[in-house]
Each structure stands twice: as structure tokens, then as C-alpha cells.
Symmetry: C2
Subunit: 129 residues, 2 copies
Amino acid sequence: MDRLSQVFAALADETRRDMVARLADGDATVSQLAGSYRMTLQAVYKHLRVLEHAGLVTRPPGPQPRRVHLEVEVFDLMDAWTERYRRRAEQRYRRLDAVLAEMRDEESQHEQRGGHRGRPEDSGHPDDS
Amino acid sequence: MDRLSQVFAALADETRRDMVARLADGDATVSQLAGSYRMTLQAVYKHLRVLEHAGLVTRPPGPQPRRVHLEVEVFDLMDAWTERYRRRAEQRYRRLDAVLAEMRDEESQHEQRGGHRGRPEDSGHPDDS
DNA sequence: CACCCTTTCAACCAAGAGGTTGACTACCCG
DNA sequence: CGGGTAGTCAACCTCTTGGTTGAAAGGGTG
């Protein structure tokens, strides 16, 4: 499972998102966190491990009450991904607008002509995910 | 399952993320999409339904080759969420920096004094996810 | 109408995720 | 050293997920 999948999967769970929210206000220990949820400590611990494997959270080793720390930089990963495709889609819209504008221009130049219904499709996409 | 969970869960799958990438370059039909993956058309269709339920994709009803359309606005939902907690964590850092600076100041004012090791913890968090 | 292509539904299966209980390890403090 | 608290591991259960095959609708076009 690649990194991005792990991050998205980690945040797809409401409990884990709530933990992130909780940790944004300050580090906490496993048992402190467990106090907030109606499930066993072990279940909370499992959630924590998911967040940890996704890199959303770190637990610097040390003395007994180990504190869980949120690593917000991981959000940048998601942002980069979404931004990439948001941008592409927007560019496509702009291109489409341009094409439509062009068609309008042509139509108004030589008024009334046959219906040209060519679909500008089928441009092979370069297959990067 | 709430909306945000659906969106994150939808994007937690590599195949579905690739579909989003593919659709960012233009709408496509189910069978066109299916051509790109080494799984049955029905499996692709299932993925599409997940994306659709998450609101990441729409399929305006109409004549037979139904085209799948990407709805990038949904990304705003995720952005809003991440931004919220990123901001909180940053504010917390700033506050921590301020506290540390203050401690340094006090120390340098009346040089050498007893160790005051009060942990500024336990501020009840307002429990919103 | 009959055909063909696209889309959709349904039943089934293997693997994974979220949760539980129970036991075991690690550390701190008296 | 002994006990208590915090953290961890492991086995088990159930429900969901990603995938399969097989079959049924939908809807243009000859």
C-alpha cells in the first residue's frame, strides 16, 4: 500500500480524524486519548498505529508516558495531489471555453451552415496517477 | 458514514485515485475507463459507484454511452478540514514558542532560581471533530 | 423487430478492518 | 523487590471491501 493510500485510509475513519483533531491541540498519551472514546484502550492503540504507519503521528521513544505527536506536514501530500487534478480540470474547462467561443465566432462569421458535430475527444492521456 | 469519511475512503484506493486522475483530463464512459484496468468491467463499475456516492463524480442521465464527470469541488471539503487542523497546530507552536521565550526572559532577569516544573497541560479541549 | 453494445444487478468468495477479551511486558515509585 | 499503571501483543469475531462470474435490462441502428 503506497503512502497516499495509507494517509487517505487513515483519515477515512471518524475516530481517527477525531484523534487528529484532538492532537492538533496538543500531544497526548495513549491512555489520555482512550479516555475520550467508548472503546477499549487496545482499540484506540490500534487506531494510533494506523495513524503512525501513515506518518500522521509520531511517538518519540522515551520514558513511560509516551506522548503522541501530530505531524501536520503530511497534509501537504494530500494537498499536492488534489491541487494537481484540480488544476488539470480547471485547465480543461478553460480549453473547453475557448473551443466553444471559437465555435460561436465561426457561426457568427458565416451565418447558418451545416451542423458540424465533431466530438473533440479521444486524446490519449499520459497515464500518470 | 459521513461525507468526509466517504471522500477519504474513496480516495484511499489506488485504482479510484487513478480514475480521478484520468477523469481530470476529460469525461469518460464506464467501458472506456474499464479499458485501462486489468479487472472486469463490473469491478470498475463498483469503483465508480463508490466515487459517485462520495460525490467525487456525477453521471448525468441521458443517452446510452453515459459519461462520467469529475466534480473537483469536493476537494474543497478535504482542504477545509486539513487547513483547520494545520492552522491549530501552527498556532499551538507559536504559543509554545511564546511560553519558552517568556521562560528564557524570566531566567535571565533574576538569574538562578528554583526549578519550576509546572506542566501547562490539561486544558480541556472543546471536542469538535 | 432483432441484434449488439453498454450498463446494471445479484450471488458468491477471500482478505482486510474495526472491535473485543485476555495475557504479557516495561517502567516508575515506595 | 513488589505492586500498579501504561503500553503492547495475540487470538478471535463480524462486517465491509475489492474482486469474480453470470445474467438481466436499456437503448440505438440495421
